[in-house]
Symmetry: C2
Subunit: 598 residues, 2 copies
């Protein structure tokens, strides 16, 4: 029997108990909704994910996209799945009802979408990129652009992509070379090469809208000279339907280790000088406009990583329960039946690690979604400000720390399956390969760490950092005195103190030591901050679990939560000490080592 | 240009400088050899590995073995490579000259073979399994068995396999069910199913000799009832040539995530009651006989993992030097040229981690090979005893700790390549997939950890552990007072003290707490011991590097060694504290958690 996509008890626990997402219905925008409509949306997503997304995940991996007569061929199930997604209204889920949307909170949409990520993250890439592209036009495009390009995306007729990276500039957007020449009619002639464009070409939508970063002729060098353009595969006729090709040429497909269902392309724009782009917003504002979307995309990448961790966890848990292997140490009587794998301590360690990352990550991803809703819709500007500050600091952490730890989780899932896990007969090796992308794309994890320490730790005079510490302290105060929570509370308090002390010390020293030395050990800072946040979310879960235990509600479930919190406190959080020591010593190993020494 | 398989400076450094392997020529068995013949053998291996093994590594991965008309089809390059290997005399390299061998020390053979592992570990699997099977017959088989089965293996005509695991018993050999019924002529009728047999069927050798564990009818349950059999694919005619099939049937091929060139099979023995086996040695001694081979195989697995780490390191180092991307933090002038990746601190961190694991691992693997030579050939029984004790304790560590850390190294290699690393256009994703097997096979890493803490830490009244500590202390004494070595020496001393303190505490408590609690946190013990050994080998390398610096020899190389030692001291070894604390607290998280809580 297939495992669930998400443990429904856990989703309910995170959404309604820990996060109290029902509070969203107090906002005017969501007043027509209630817990019932939210649950119904999530259930619909779960059903479509189960029926249309999950069944072809293995087939899609084994049959990666290929070219036939110049056309990209995907297995047909991918298009069918995305159509079912769009027909259920999910493309427009958070948009206004008058636009055909459901006016859903971002939180609920994300809780629903988590099921598609768990079921088949490569297929889910098509709608999620489209939603992100539509959001970008919604935020910065003109009314006409919204009508012509966004509306067909919300209806699932056009798909969207992000055309940012170039062959020579993956991480360094500053070096983007694609140029845009202004034409007399106000459109732009686009010319250049793009690399790594996911969903860049296929035949499952009527049109593909590339949200493209390019540099207008004469614009400044670097990121300050980038503008954002709508560059469609096909131009539109007067009725808004795709007509002639727009000189966007597919150069080749990238053949990946995993994540294969999402076709990944190298594209060339304007080889025959016939590629037109429409500028979105003002010139030279491209990166700024992208930033909003990039944060969303970063949380999205993390959410995908976490759901892969979650699937690996549930798969390996089911296997650990059913597979007999070995006996307890000391019990060498070979005539006794073998124990189930789950009886072995180290298998439990690997299950607890997965549970802590997967369930903790799910809660954090939903927590951030809730903060996005609050930062947008709360009537109190103070609340909006605070939530936005929290998002600033927490986004690189969920992207980097959780994608790294999710990969460790998938490593553990595979390990529990033993030799079988290494074969393609079980899904964990595919999940592991899919997940290996997540520490790379949407800004490598090293870039996230530099963003965290070099920018987020100090922006707004340290207000983002202070907001996070304040939120953690509120949780620690709430946890004080609850016996079952003491272990994780104390470990989190220690990690929090180390993070604060380290951040203070580094910020004080930053001018003296300069940015190179400050940021040399950014990876250790990311781990220190990630561990602290990990402790925070597990303290929050433990508080609720303790309350459930006290009330006699589902004690097994509650004890499982406390066990995961205990695992986090004993096995993971103590690492924060080593990290803080390294950082505070301003260790210069990485600065001093020279190229010629390798 | 292709990177080298191994940095030749580093191999020379480890073999001749740190380990002083030339001392082997003092043993009577190796008296005819000298540094020149050793170097020549290594150079021959390097050349064949470059010319015959490396070129088809990617092709072999993309074209995994398949069945056609009931026959296993491998790409032809695999057979050609193994033939070149055999023709160079490597199948018999360490055997007596009168058997057609080179009478090479194991150390030199391993240094030579490291090149095949670096070039193409799946293809190298065929000769290495054959060598291991031959060693088993050499150690325990009769003269006739050596003539009939071993000799053709040394000539490369027959290949060998290890047929241990069964579909229901991967880790738990205690539960092996294959039965052997004694026939009147002293042979045995074999019946049962084997799983995961590497090299189990193919057409690139005249015969395949399965070294098979089975239970003689009426033998005790458990490992004490296992016997070792020679079960060939084809029986032999009177001239010793393969004749009729021996009722060994191929049930299917396992389709793996990586390591694809090594065909992996499910086999059925005696479905038609026509499978004959020849017992090796006495009945019920099978596992004992296997043990010798398993230790060799475990070091072999680790060596393979380490060479994959080494290749990933050299590949990503070359890429980091040539790929421009981004600028220093703080240097935002986009009109300046981009820096090479290697200029970024976090890339250096990932390179140093790889260097520390790859070069440190290579040295340790050769160190263990040297101890095998000494434990076999040293005239002093005290030396033989001591080396054998050291091998007992260090074998699970090199298998588990180094295969885990080698995978981290490959993760870092892939990460340095960014999006390109995730594609199949570069070798690192293949290397990473190949390496993912190593924490699983030849005893999962959890089993190694249980072996280390549950057995090796206490065997011979703690003499194995004491021998390791004594060896470490000798290094620490040697390092005292050398300024350049202080950092790694002190960190190693701390880790060593934590390891000793923890081991003492656990051994003292072991009877009281019982084996389940003692071994629950074995993974943490493995990490603590692994870190200590990691510190030890880097202290040894640092001592030699400091001497080179002093003598003005290759200062860049020496500084690189000191930088890797510094990385180990600052970034890795401090983790030993957290591990010791967890272990000494007898943390019961993994014991207390219940199946129903998940």
């Amino acid at each position: 029997m297939a495992v669930p996509l998400i443990d429904p008890r856990d989703l309910d626990f995170a959404l309604w108990r820990v996060l109290d997402a029902e509070q969203l219905t107090r906002y005017a925008r969501f007043a027509d909704h209630g817990r019932e409509t939210f649950d119904a949306v999530i259930e619909t997503a779960r059903r479509i994910a189960e029926e249309k997304f999950r069944p072809h995940a293995a087939k899609s991996d084994a049959n990666e996209p290929y070219l036939e007569n110049g056309k990209v061929v995907l297995i047909p199930e991918i298009g069918e799945a995305v159509r079912a997604f769009a027909e259920a209204g999910f493309m427009a889920a958070h948009h206004d009802t008058e636009r055909g949307g459901m006016q859903l909170p971002w939180t609920i949409q994300q809780a629903a979408f988590a099921h598609f990520k768990a079921a088949n993250v490569p297929t889910a890439g098509y709608p999620f990129l489209t939603i992100a592209a539509a959001n970008l036009i919604h935020a910065h495009g003109s009314e006409e652009q919204q009508r012509l390009w966004m509306q067909p995306m919300l209806e699932g007729r056009f798909f969207g992509t992000m055309a940012l990276s170039e062959p020579h500039a993956g991480s360094s957007l500053s070096d983007v070379r694609t140029v845009a020449r202004r034409l007399d009619d106000g459109t732009y002639a686009i010319k250049g090469s793009k690399m790594w464009t996911s969903g860049g070409e296929h035949e499952i939508s009527q049109n593909i809208v590339h949200m493209t970063l390019a540099r207008i002729e004469g614009a400044p060098a670097g990121v300050k000279g980038l503008s954002l353009f709508i560059v469609p595969r096909y131009r539109l006729d007067e009725t808004g339907n795709p007509s002639v090709p727009n000189d966007v040429r597919l150069i080749g497909l990238n053949h990946k280790m995993g994540y294969r269902g999402t076709v990944n392309t190298a594209l060339s724009f304007g080889e025959e000088d016939g590629c037109i782009g429409w500028i979105v917003g003002a010139p030279n504002r491209g990166l700024l406009q992208m930033f909003h979307m990039m944060n969303e995309a970063r949380v999205g990448v993390a959410f995908g990583a976490i759901m892969l961790a979650y699937q690996g966890y549930l798969e390996s848990l089911a296997y650990a329960r059913e597979r007999p292997q070995g006996r307890h140490p000391g019990d060498k009587d070979p005539t006794t039946p073998q124990l189930a794998l789950i009886e072995h301590a180290d298998v439990r360690r690997m299950l607890l690690q997965q549970k802590a990352v997967a369930e903790g990550g799910l809660m954090l991803a939903l927590d951030l979604a809730l903060r996005i809703d609050r930062s947008t819709h709360d009537p109190d500007p103070q609340v909006r400000k605070r939530e936005s500050l929290l998002l600033d600091f927490l986004t690189p952490i969920i992207k980097a720390w959780f994608s790294d730890q999710s990969l460790v989780a998938n490593h553990n899932a595979l390990q529990i399956f033993g030799g079988y896990g290494y074969t393609r007969d079980f899904p964990v090796e595919r999940i592991y390969r899919d997940n290996r992308l997540n520490p790379i794309h949407e800004g490598t994890n090293a870039i996230q760490a530099i963003d965290l320490l070099g920018r987020k730790a100090s922006i707004h005079d340290g207000a983002a950092f202070a907001a996070v510490v304040e939120a953690i302290d509120a949780t620690l105060a709430e946890a004080a005195g609850i016996a079952e929570v003491k272990l994780i509370r104390d470990a989190t308090k220690e990690a929090r103190d180390r993070l604060v002390e380290t951040t203070d010390a580094l910020m004080k020293d930053s001018t003296r030591i300069g940015p190179i030395r400050l940021l040399a050990n950014a990876e250790a800072y990311m781990d220190l901050a990630g561990l602290t946040v990990f402790g925070w979310i597990w303290t929050r879960q433990a508080i609720e679990a303790a309350a459930m235990l006290k009330a006699g509600q589902d004690p097994d479930f509650a004890r499982g939560k406390l066990a995961a919190a205990r695992y986090a406190a004993r096995w993971e959080l103590p690492r924060s000490e080593q990290r803080a020591t390294l950082l505070q010593s301003l260790d210069a190993t990485l600065v001093d080592v020279q190229d010629s020494w390798f």
